[in-house]
């Protein structure tokens, strides 16, 4: 078994315990605490690196990544409507989930790269933040049309002041303002414990994913197929973009992972308020029950291989 990431094994432990109806569960406050550390750690690391970059040079990448976040749901939506025969609100909501990103998947991908000593552009958390939002706006427009009655002010509050964005952006800003040297005293908690915290987080995610299996059985094959095939398409788009911007192999992998992942925190909360008629079970079954495990277990190594192939092409 050597060579398998322990964090992946923690996820499997949670999955098996959940499927076996074990009474194991982490208290909600512990899960929240783990998320806070992960989000801040990712933000701080990215911010510290941003302090070394000129933002101007990153502008084309920033623009392209936002565009990608808006375009992915536009590809997903017609597929969900025609092949999945889903209702308009359901298709729009799922499309938004897949245009946005999963911080958990990103964290696992970073841990995967670090374990293999593969370097990557450490400002990637900036892209993570940027990708959270455009898909939500596109999803709502797909469901309601442009002249919608959506309360954009409330939605903006939900999106920009949602806890994951506050922690990620807050971490980025603190890291950027403080710089890598000044972060050392707090590094023990945020960087030293990162893998342990991630392992516990994935244990909980395994339990949560196991909880989605029942609805997967009810909602059928289409969601399972979409939950695997669309991330593969997204990864190809993300990796191509990374290649165009001449990122390192690790950077291409991370951009592929971001494009392949589907949100399960920020977007569900926003959709619940903005598109209440969309059934949250459908989108969560796909993003948490199918895509998250697929990306963790199979996707990340696959996207890295894709990144390697592209890097060699460029090279």
């Amino acid at each position: 078994m050597s060579g398998i990431d322990p964090i992946v094994l923690f996820f499997l432990l949670g999955l098996v315990a959940g499927l076996g109806r074990s009474d194991l569960r982490l208290p909600g406050s512990i899960y929240e605490f783990l998320s806070v550390i992960l989000l801040l750690a990712i933000g701080l690391k990215g911010g510290a690196e941003l302090a070394r970059q000129s933002l101007g040079a990153l502008l084309p990448q920033i623009f392209a990544v936002i565009l990608m976040g808006a375009l992915l749901p536009l590809v997903a939506y017609p597929l969900l409507r025609s092949l999945g025969r889903l209702k308009r609100a359901d298709a729009a909501s799922i499309a938004a989930h897949y245009g946005s990103v999963s911080v958990g998947t990103y964290a696992v991908a970073v841990a995967w790269l670090v374990a293999r000593e593969i370097p990557y552009e450490e400002y990637m958390p900036l892209m993570l933040v940027l990708l959270e939002m455009p898909a939500i706006v596109v999803g709502i427009m797909l469901a309601r049309g442009v002249s919608s009655q959506t309360d954009w002010k409330e939605l903006a509050h939900e999106v920009f002041l949602g806890k994951s964005i506050v922690l990620l952006v807050g971490g980025l800003l603190i890291g950027w303002a403080a710089g890598p040297e000044a972060l050392k005293p707090v590094g023990g908690l945020f960087f030293g414990l990162f893998h342990g915290v991630l392992a516990l987080f994935l244990l909980e995610m395994g339990l949560v994913a196991a909880g989605q299996v029942g609805s997967l059985r009810r909602h059928g094959l289409f969601l399972a197929a979409f939950g695997i095939l669309f991330p593969l398409f997204g990864a190809t788009v993300g990796a191509s973009l990374g290649w165009l911007f001449e990122l390192s192999t690790g950077g291409i992998t991370l951009l592929a992972v971001l494009a392949a992942s589907a949100s399960y925190i920020a977007v569900p909360a926003a959709m619940r308020l903005a598109l209440p008629e969309a059934n949250p079970t459908l989108s969560l079954t796909a993003s948490l029950g199918v895509t998250f495990p697929f990306n963790i277990l199979v996707g990340i190594p696959l996207y890295h291989r894709l990144a390697e192939t592209l890097s060699q092409l460029g090279g």
């Binding site: 982490l26 909600g28 899960y31 909880g211 619940r272 308020l273 949250p280």
Partner: protein
């Protein structure tokens, strides 16, 4: 001991609604409320409170019968169709009626 009659309105619903619900309650005349985390199972499936999207809250409001009726009417109109939500009343006695 003399106690004044009031209604206790209990709402169990999705945590995602918390902020919006609190705004509604204040606007409808509730003087205060108590929110606690909750978990359980109903027609919308098990809500285990393990993570955000499956969290429930229980909101309790002590108020007079008029405001209780206003709250239930508003919630029925705006939330019942699309959200996991139940609401029930009970009669309670309070000692400091001016608070409610």
């Amino acid at each position: 001991m003399q106690a004044d009659a009031r209604k206790l309105v209990t709402i169990v619903t999705e945590a995602a609604l918390e902020r919006r619900l609190v705004d509604d309650l204040k606007r409808l005349g509730a003087h205060g409320y108590t929110i606690s985390d909750a978990r359980g199972e109903g027609s919308r499936g098990a809500r285990s409170a393990g993570w955000d999207a499956s969290s429930n809250i229980r909101v309790e409001i002590v108020c007079d019968a008029t405001i209780a009726a206003k709250i239930s009417g508003h919630l029925r109109k705006h939330y019942y169709d699309h959200y996991a939500m139940i609401l029930f009343f009970s009669d309670v006695g309070v000692l400091r009626p001016e608070k409610f």
